[in-house]
């Protein structure tokens, strides 16, 4: 139902998430933000079971901020990702596991950009591009085909648009808009929301 995607470039990470907050068959919100800002240059994208997403993401968010307050400097994306994974793993075999799928994207002065894929079984993988949700089945091969490590920012946005167009063409669920953000050495930048106009999805329907 929900969709997350991340694309890493040579000096940036581009991430996008859909904006639907659903409850069974009803879209309760059309402008829901699934990205949580962990620090100035780290974003956590979180989807999964209804309450678990916000509870877990806010827990990680507050702990990363606490680290900064205690120690005077921020956690690097690698450290934040490993901290997140450790928490997921600790809760996995408890009575209350968190059923959440995550993408962590960040920029570090020393390591450069980083995109980390985590799932509800607390696996962790650093990847050049990644996606979560049913939409991932449709878009990962597009990313496989067109991704290059030296993508420019415009190229990355075009690649993202290709993925979103494929979803509007072949995915049975309606995901009308996507929040897009870009992280680089200057921090997190909000980019224009990707929306699908009605006529475009209508056009593809007859194919």
């Amino acid at each position: 139902m929900e969709y997350l995607i991340g694309i890493q470039g040579p000096d940036f990470v581009l991430v996008a998430a859909d904006n639907v907050a659903a409850s069974s068959i009803i879209q309760m919100k059309h402008d829901y933000d699934k990205m949580f800002k962990l620090s100035e240059k780290i974003l956590l994208l979180c989807v999964g079971e209804a309450g678990d997403t916000v509870q877990f993401a806010e827990y990680i968010q507050k702990n990363v901020q606490l680290y900064k307050m205690r120690n005077g400097y921020e956690l690097s994306p690698t450290a934040a990702a490993n901290f997140t994974r450790k928490n997921l793993a600790d809760y996995l075999r408890s009575r209350t596991p968190y059923h959440v799928n995550l993408l962590l994207a960040g920029y570090d002065e020393a390591e450069g950009p980083g995109l980390f894929y985590m799932d509800y079984l607390s696996s962790l993988a650093k990847a050049p591009f990644a996606a979560h949700g049913y939409g991932a089945f449709l878009t990962l091969s597009i990313l496989d085909r067109y991704y290059r490590p030296d993508l420019s920012r415009d190229d990355a946005v075009d690649l993202l648009k290709k993925c979103v167009e494929e979803l509007s063409k072949r995915f049975i669920l309606n995901l009308p808009s996507f929040t897009v953000r870009l992280i680089d050495k200057d921090g997190i930048h909000d980019m224009e929301k990707l929306t699908l106009s009605g006529e475009m999805s209508g056009f593809w329907f007859w194919f």
Partner: protein, 261 residues
Amino acid sequence: MALEDLCHFRDIFQEDITTERFSIASAISSQESPSAFPLPTNLPFTSSQTVPLPFPMAHGTTTLAFMFQGGVLAAADTRSSCSGLVACPASQKILPIHSHLVGTTSGTSADCMLWKRILARELRLYQLRHSRRLSTRGAAKLLSHMLHPFKGTELCVAATLCGWDGGELFYVCSDGTRLEGMLFSVGSGSPYAYSILDQGVRWGLTVEEATSVAREAVYRATHRDAYSGNFVDVFHITSKGWTRRKREDLKEEYYREKESD
């Protein structure tokens, strides 16, 4: 209830009968991730695991709430159903929490009523301790965190908190969802209500127009949904507090419409 908790008073009679349940509850609560908020320990945590429900709980409802230029409007039907039986045709599903905060309830009636009272108590304690009222956003977060330990149990509370600190609307559910928005409808009749509201609700509505849309939405939902019906309650929240419209019988609305056809 509030005084009892503050004084940590434990009824001796209760303790004799339910000592075993208390010990299970306290053992489990110590293993739970510790929360800063002191959870009430004299509630039966383990009721869903060890004790089966004695009868099917009430669930069906149509409630709705939306924000517009004149404040926040909340409306709900009044039917409490238990599987196929109408347990109460005149229940109250919109419960005032304090003078400027009202909550619509959906799910299990008993759970909703209890948790609204607990929320009202905690908000009042906050107000006394900090000399200011907690915002609607804070109340929503408080309710959401209070319900979190019960996730996975039979507890079913889906509430819309309608408040005035600038007018705010939050949807809180016992599965952990917490959403801020301008329009929500909750319950078995909500899809029917949504379709009427999506057509009629705009920011610039007058209070009369907004009331009429809300009533219409509840009426149409009660017509189609078997588990909603009987009367409609409408509450209007502004900076001066909440006001309540006289409860209306939807049966009359149905006959009025039939006559005019």
